[in-house]
């Protein structure tokens, strides 16, 4: 039982990290109909920028602000100069090729800048150390990640459900053309959402770095998990991203704890099962 509770906490840590990552991906997917394979690279780049900030300025909290700003700005540029030309449902292949190409460029530049060594970011001093829970020394940083994830989920929920901006985004997810017809500059909303998603990925990179470390190749590992979350949660819904993250985080953790040899399989079996029962994901309205 005690072991179960500890593993539950471990599962929530993974879930919350995935949520920060998947929230942006899901919004971009749902609103812009863009399959953004650059999201993993945004995560890794955010992590690396955070690493440099921590090394240079010795301040983890600054990293939490700088990395999302830089990567969000980069997202804005990518959207404005390139992605803008590739909108439309029939152009998915071009979007995939383009965003994959950008990923390769970012990852190669990151390797040129930070090298291919594995890098780790220490947890901030304020959150270092452990608390004793059921005979296990549970790291405070990981506990606070759960709180951070929940807080961010709440803020995002308020933003999407309770503000005018959120209403526009939600309307855009349902029918972007109609929103444009109402005289709203959808182009600008798209750019904003893309940049915001990129910034969230970078934020995930910074808070995730003390847990997952940083190395070339991590981008695709994270991206795959986030895509799974988005697909089972349903495209374009925050709720979907949240519960999708919970399911995948817990399935991953309990799979590893109970049947380690099959843990990868369990993850994808859960996805297949959910898609069999609900082809558009848990909360999705659009077909995947």
């Amino acid at each position: 039982m005690e072991n179960f509770l500890i593993q539950l906490l471990n599962g929530l840590v993974t879930s919350m990290l995935l949520f920060v990552m998947a929230a942006g991906l899901s919004l971009i997917f749902g609103l812009m109909d863009v399959i953004n394979l650059t999201h993993g690279a945004f995560y890794l780049l955010g992590g690396y920028i955070g690493l440099t900030t921590v090394r240079r300025l010795g301040n983890f909290w600054l990293a939490l602000m700088i990395a999302p700003l830089v990567v969000g700005g980069l997202g804005l540029l990518i959207e404005y100069f390139f992605l803008r030309r590739l909108y439309g449902r029939h152009r998915h292949l071009e979007q995939v090729l383009f965003t994959f190409g950008v990923t390769l460029i970012i990852i190669d530049l990151a390797r040129a800048t930070w090298g291919a060594y594995v890098e780790s970011v220490p947890s901030p001093a304020l959150l270092a150390g452990q608390v004793s829970l059921f005979n296990i020394q549970f790291p405070i940083y990981r506990l606070s990640l759960i709180g951070f994830g929940l807080l961010l989920a709440l803020l995002l929920w308020l933003l999407i459900e309770r503000t005018r901006l959120g209403a526009i985004v939600r309307a855009g997810v349902s029918d972007a053309q109609m929103v444009a017809g109402l005289g709203i500059d959808v182009q600008r909303v798209f750019a904003g959402v893309f940049a915001f998603g990129a910034a969230l990925a970078a934020l995930a990179g910074v808070v995730g770095a003390p847990v997952f470390t940083l190395y070339p190749g991590l981008d695709s590992e994270i991206l795959i998990l986030a895509l799974v979350v988005v697909v089972i949660g349903g495209l374009g819904t925050l709720k979907g991203a949240f519960f999708g993250s919970l399911i995948i985080g817990l399935a991953d953790t309990f799979g590893k704890a109970l049947l380690p040899e099959l843990s990868r399989f369990i993850l994808f079996a859960v996805m297949a099962l959910i898609l069999l029962l609900r082809p558009s994901g848990l909360f999705g309205q659009k077909e995947v």
Partner: protein
């Protein structure tokens, strides 16, 4: 010499004149004209080594390290052996056999290299074994440790200058039973190298009276968050943890081990790659006190190592040598000594015959190519991570003696 060659080919006078004219204009433009000429001619050409190493993906720094080692030895010996100059062509091994196979074929078939050296991944080594075997092309493996290539999967054309996965683990078992404890939790990634290392350690550890209380295999190559595994380990009543992880997995795993407060509480013993110099900077203080078996240590006390480490730091400022650089350095040395023995003859069978018994004092201590396994006979050291000038590095605590792979699966 050029004339000799042309006349041997039985050319007409006009053909001969044309040929010498062409030769004057630039021999390199028509190398095929010389095919099948006397060995004296082929040996005067540069010898080409194809370095197949990962320059991308997660093992990229291992590839860079090995290349630095190879180049360092070749530079020290004037890039020349057996009267022939040496030329290096590099290709990216990537991470998987799918990445590496076309590159190996390119080196062999298009660049026509005389020797291929490198290969970090055991998966790639396994996938390319038949290619080198059937093409009778010499491969000097500078890292990948799959036991099989020294055992059932042996071919005359693949020799290893690195290690078999069995080697750094088996000698540690009895030492652990005597010095650390009789109850162990073993955690390894679920792929061939992980299984090889675990089985080798457990074979000798259990023979020495140790008991494996917990066994764990973790997903490879993506471990994700290792916290669920660490939780299982923290709940077990054992004397110590035995592991093998490398690269990104090593750092993530060790980080979680430290974050959960196990560093300094549950002793860590491991295959040396987990706490080697390439990953130590990222592992930081959590690695302090970790003990491991490996065929080299940065602070291994012998004159060759001292010279090597100093020269490496002088040649590559800001770089700390690691075991992969040593393997690259020894790979360079094996190739040079082999060519000196064949006097520059690069026919595969001559080179293979010359490899047998090559022996020298390496930075890792006495090194002998063992003809029975085509793998080095070498010493394994029990090392400990200590803070030296404020940074974690490996110091050799004990020499566990000279070890050769058993050549079959009888000892794990």
């Amino acid at each position: 010499m050029k004339q000799q060659c042309a006349l041997k080919g039985g050319l007409s006078r006009r053909g001969f004149l044309k040929l010498t004219g062409a030769a004057g204009a630039g021999m390199a433009a028509a190398p095929w004209l010389l095919a099948g000429c006397s060995p004296a001619v082929t040996t005067s050409q540069p010898l080409k080594i194809g370095l197949l190493l990962p320059y991308s993906a997660v093992y990229a720094e291992l590839g860079n390290s090995i290349e630095r080692g190879v180049r360092m030895y070749l530079d020290e010996t004037g890039n020349e052996a057996g009267g022939r100059s040496i030329e290096i062509i590099t290709e990216d091994e990537g991470a998987t056999p799918d990445d590496a196979t076309p590159k190996a074929r390119k080196l062999v078939e298009q660049d026509e290299v005389d020797i291929v050296a490198g290969i970090v991944s055991s998966g790639v080594l396994g996938a390319l074994r038949d290619y080198f075997d059937s093409n009778k092309k010499l491969l000097i493996c500078a890292n990948a440790g799959a036991n099989g290539i020294s055992r059932g999967g042996k071919t005359p054309y693949i020799w290893r200058t690195s290690f078999s996965n069995w080697q750094p683990n088996w000698p540690v078992g009895p030492w652990a039973a005597e010095n650390v404890g009789k109850r162990v939790f073993v955690s390894v990634p679920d792929y061939a190298a992980g299984h090889n290392m675990r089985d080798a350690f457990l074979n000798s550890y259990q023979a020495a009276g140790g008991e494996a209380v917990g066994l764990q295999v973790t997903p490879f190559p993506n471990i994700g968050d290792p916290a669920p595994f660490i939780t299982e380990i923290a709940n077990a009543d054992v004397d110590f943890l035995y592991c093998f992880y490398s690269g990104g997995q090593a750092v993530t795993f060790l980080k979680a081990y430290g974050d959960f407060g196990l560093a300094g509480k549950l002793p860590l013993l491991c295959a040396g790659f987990m706490v080697e110099e390439d990953v130590l900077p990222a592992e930081g203080d959590y690695a302090l006190g970790a003990r491991s078996g490996l065929h080299w240590a940065l602070y291994l006390d012998n004159p060759e190592n001292k010279t090597f480490v100093e020269a490496y730091r002088a040649k590559y400022p800001d770089k700390t040598p690691d075991v992969f650089a040593v393997q690259g350095y020894d790979t360079g040395r094996v190739i040079v000594e082999m060519l000196n023995r064949t006097q520059g003859d690069s026919s595969a069978d001559k080179m293979v015959a010359a490899l047998d018994g090559i022996s020298f004092a390496s930075p890792r201590g006495p090194f002998t190519l063992d003809a029975a396994t085509q793998n080095p006979k070498q010493h394994i050291y029990l090392r400990e991570v200590q803070a030296i000038d404020g940074a974690p590095h490996n110091v050799s605590l004990a020499d566990l003696g000279e070890v050769a792979d058993p050549g079959d699966d009888s000892k794990g």
